[in-house]
Amino acid sequence: MSVVATQECAVRSARLLVETFAEEKMCRKCVPCVLSVAQITSVLSDLSAGSATSGDTERLLAFCDGMDETAMCKLGRDVAIELKRLLGEHSQEFTHHESGSCPSGGCTSLLTFTVVGEKCTLCGACKEICPAGAVVGEKPLWYVADSMPFRIRADKCTGCGLCVPVCEPGAIVLQIGGDSVG
């Protein structure tokens, strides 16, 4: 769970449900259950990684229906029904994921952290703490006329959020689905 998550992410819950089932309960005795679970897991991980395509939610529903109808035992049918419930209750959240954003902040790959230049005091605390080396920029030096401002590279950022609490002026903001949070 990301340090910045505001609430439980439905896609993460769905992943947890299906992955726990696959690892602990799935008996692997019937073909549709094994193959559906593999397909569902891959769609869910696409959704939380930002590589989803539109229609993925519909595809998930279709897998749930098929699995509910063809799985050999109750274990498989139950997980399909539970997943279908999640999809129904959080349909908007799933649609958000399809277009690459996670409203709850649970999917770290979908988070965007930005340094607000006006607030930044150029202290460099964010660069020191960033485990991914995603923060670029340098502290100003007395003998250098100008310095490169601090910036977070989206391609390197893992969305861990460690930079947020160390920023005393609160210059680092998180954007979820286009809205700034915190």
Binding site: V31, A38, Q39, M72
Partner: protein
């Protein structure tokens, strides 16, 4: 009680026997339900979910293969709900199945292809999930491509039910895969390459390597035939494309064929296969045309007979020759060659045992068939290594076990069967006859024998009692190494058998006490029909026995009068040790005509060599060890000459003609003779007799440096290995110079795996490579039957009437003279 039930399927009322799966009930009404994991004759698991149907009263869809029909069931197979479910399953499977149908060998007989076609699904609507498993094609016969697997589990179930049970499902991340323990390649996994898994696989996940790119499925012509590689006489279906065998199938997917039967015909495609006759010119054998070869062969034999008189020409009939060949050669010998003597090489492979059975039971209905074995409640395997010598018998036994049969093994070795046995008694090597006698005594003492049957139907029980009294006198328990308790336990399971008891024994056993003991036990158990299974390692012992009779067996080669020989599909010289008299006799003959498929030691000394057609190239009849008469298929369009044509032209060349104008007439004559042997008499009309008992031989004392030699078969070579040496089977076979010993014995001699040893017997001395074989008891050593070491150490003349082939028994003391540390 009426045991039919009525079910309604798609509005049609169907009556079927109780217990019929719904899928079969539908089939009987002409309603085809698609399936992948179902196979008639095997336990259904309902895992593929393709055969789901709607069942009134059930909320969920049910698998029609796994649900048995019950009276009043109402089933629908044609609703949109059912179709949607099936489409879902096929769609999912296609998303896991890289599409290679264009060049896939299975195309045309693939279960998944058929299912997709039936539902009209051209391609998956889901993202492709290519599992990316590596191909296992390192062994010579089976290609495993699990990317094409549909996870039906049939291979796992068939391996479990009739073979080694080495396959199982294993988790692979989210997915699942079939694999061996530790996912080892097949040849390292204990697989015996019976190919049953390939036979049941609905897709190309498991394919015969030899079948690849050799013709599309729809180009295959199928012909029912019989395997010629051992006495089991399994039925085969030869798959030919353009006249060439591209695959051997079993008649139904779950019928067992062993590695030799399924994959061993490749030998006949080998470049060294003789395809043209050879004739000796200026001391060397050169190719010639059939006309010339047959003319010269006939002239040579005729000249000897005319100059040296009656009895100067002998005929050797190979142990695997068909009944027709036996009959035709017999006719040539008697009429065309003027009372030439015929010796069948099949004689040492079981004539003695078969005639002992005839003596005691008056006919051979006592011989157990596969059905008898599969239905048995207790099976006693006495000294027969069936997994090596008669693999199908091993499969039948495994199936019987799955039905709840108790398996008892009596063998000093931990054979394949012994590993699976409920009770394994390990009498000392050479003490099997005594062990059986002790068992008979334990059964008598326990009072659990069938006293009513013995009193009413048999004679000789008093003689048996006095014979067994010896057992009480001597210290037999120490000599056999078996405890009274263990024997009493086996006697109790024989006495408590709820049904049929079957004794499996090696037909070429040289120890007459073994077959006598088995007959005693069968009679004491109250069995007279289908209760003794003598296994034979060659394919037509029973046929030769029925056609020729035991008295025909003769020392044709050894006779001084013999000046010329006509050897049909045999290699007497190759079968014997280098210094044998037989070799020098063969060299001194005035004429030697040899018919063979491959150049052999005997053929190399011949004046004329005639190529022999393979089991797949000539029609003919074989009688399996169970007594079943089986026909080889006709093979139109091959370039070899059929046995009948060769013999017919030989007869003409010798100035007579066979009494049959065509092969079919000869087959008819064979059928008549064999039918006479099968005339059933009232089994209660004749008295059964306990056999006359011969004296027990000494039990040899084996030790590490003077082990008792056990010569036995191995899983992949057939008989003397002349044919199978040219098959890819060789790649899986152990080395010919192997000298197997128990690890304790190896250690006490300071030997390591691969050490070179010098082994000497009274007959000869050879170099060999020591290998650990912990299936052997301490004080015994193993040499493969087909190896030259076996011949040199045994020093037997295969045609000496006093000698048996000594396959599973003990005879020769071996001294390990020197040990050289081998570099492994």
């Amino acid at each position: 009680m009426d045991n039919t039930v009525k079910v309604t399927i798609d509005g049609r009322e169907v009556s079927v026997a109780q217990g019929t799966p719904l899928i079969e009930a539908a089939a009987s009404a002409g309603i085809r339900i698609p399936y992948l994991c179902y196979c008639p004759g095997m336990k259904s698991v309902g895992s593929c979910r393709l055969c789901v149907v709607e069942l009134e009263g059930s909320r969920t869809l049910v698998a029609s293969c796994a649900r048995q029909a019950k009276d009043g069931m109402v089933v629908r197979t044609d609703t949109p709900r059912v179709e949607a479910a099936r489409r879902f399953v096929v769609d999912l499977l296609l998303s896991n199945h890289p599409k290679e149908c264009l060049s896939c060998d299975k195309s045309g007989s693939c279960g998944l292809q058929d299912a997709a076609y039936g539902l009209g699904i051209p391609k998956t609507s889901y993202p492709m999930k290519d599992p990316g498993y590596p191909l296992d094609c390192s062994n010579p016969f089976i290609v495993r491509d699990y990317n094409l697997c549909v996870l039906c589990g049939l291979c796992i179930r068939v391996c479990e039910s009739q073979s080694q049970g080495i396959l199982s499902f294993m988790s692979r991340g989210m997915g699942m895969k079939v694999g061996t323990a530790k996912d080892l390649p097949l040849e390292e996994s204990g697989c015996d390459f019976c190919g049953s898994c390939v036979s049941v696989c609905p897709t190309a996940a498991l394919m015969e390597k030899g079948r690849q790119t050799r013709g599309r499925e729809w180009a295959i012509e199928r012909a029912a035939s019989v395997c010629g590689y051992c006495g089991c006489g399994c039925e085969t279906v030869l798959n030919r494309v353009d006249g060439r065998v591209v695959r051997v199938e079993s008649p139904d997917p779950t019928a067992f064929l062993c590695a030799r039967g399924r994959f061993g015909l490749d030998a006949y495609e080998h470049p060294e296969r003789l395809r043209k006759p050879l004739i000796r010119r200026d001391g060397t054998l050169v190719e010639c045309e059939w006309d010339e070869a047959l003319d010269v062969a006939a002239a040579k034999l005729r000249d000897v007979r005319e100059s040296a008189g009656v009895g100067s020409v002998g005929v050797i009939l190979g142990a695997n020759a068909t009944c027709e060949t036996a009959l035709a050669l017999g006719d040539i010998a008697h009429r065309a060659l003027g009372d030439a003597r015929v010796g069948s090489s099949a004689r040492p492979y079981g004539f003695a045992v078969l005639s002992r059975l005839e003596e005691s039971f008056s006919d051979l209905s006592v011989v157990a068939t596969s059905d008898d074995i599969e239905a048995a409640s207790v099976i006693v395997v006495a000294g027969a290594d069936v997994t090596a010598d008669s693999p199908a018998v091993g499969a039948w036994i495994t199936r019987a076990q799955q039905r709840g049969a108790t398996l008892v093994a009596l063998d000093s070795r931990v054979t394949g069967v012994a590993k699976r046995a409920d009770v394994h008694l390990r009498p000392r090597a050479g003490a099997l006859g005594r062990a059986l006698a002790l068992l008979a005594k334990a059964l008598l003492d326990s009072g659990g024998w069938d006293q009513e049957f013995v009193a009413a139907r048999t004679s000789g029980i008093d003689e048996l009692r006095s014979h067994l009294a010896q057992a009480a006198g001597g210290d037999w328990e120490a000599e056999t190494g078996l405890s009274a308790d263990a024997l009493a336990e086996v006697a109790a399971s024989l006495a408590g058998a709820k049904g049929h008891v079957v004794f499996v024994v090696s037909a070429e056993t040289d120890d007459s006490a073994v077959i006598e003991g088995v007959i005693d036990l069968a009679l004491l158990s109250g069995c007279a029909q289908g209760c003794i299974a003598p296994t034979t390692i060659t394919s037509n012992v029973r046929g030769h026995f029925e056609l020729l009779g035991d008295e025909e067996a003769s020392d044709v080669v050894g006779s001084d009068a013999t000046r010329a020989l006509f050897v049909w599909d045999d290699d007497p010289k190759g079968r014997t040790f280098s210094g044998s008299e037989l070799s020098s006799k063969l060299a001194a003959l005035d004429a030697l005509v040899v018919a063979t498929s491959f150049m052999s030691d005997t053929a190399a000394a011949a004046d004329v060599v005639l190529p022999v057609a393979s089991v797949a190239e000539t029609s003919g009849t074989r009688v399996s060890q169970e007594g079943r008469v089986r026909r080889q298929s006709e093979a139109p369009g091959t370039d070899s000459m059929s046995d009948f044509e060769v013999l017919s032209r030989m007869a003409t060349g010798l100035g007579t003609a066979l009494p049959w104008d065509k092969a079919e007439a000869c087959e008819q004559a064979v059928a008549t003779v064999l039918a006479a042997h099968r005339e059933t008499t009232d089994p209660t009309s004749h008295r059964l007799t306990f056999p006359a008992h011969s004296a027990f031989g000494d039990v040899p004392e084996g030790s590490a440096d003077r082990p008792t030699l056990l010569v036995g078969g191995t899983a992949f070579h057939f008989d003397d290995g002349l044919v199978t040496r040219h098959s890819a089977l060789t790649a899986l076979e152990i080395e010919g110079d192997l000298f197997g010993m128990n690890s304790e014995d190896m250690a006490s001699l300071g030997l390591v795996e691969g050490s070179t040893v010098s082994v000497a017997s009274d007959a000869g001395e050879v170099d060999a490579v020591a290998r650990t074989l912990d299936s052997l008891a301490p004080g015994t050593a193993f040499v493969p039957r087909w190896s030259s070491n076996a011949k040199e150490l045994l020093g037997d003349d295969p045609y000496d009437p006093a000698c048996m082939p000594q396959h599973t028994s003990v005879h020769v003391r071996v001294v390990v003279v020197g040990t050289v540390q081998g570099g492994e």
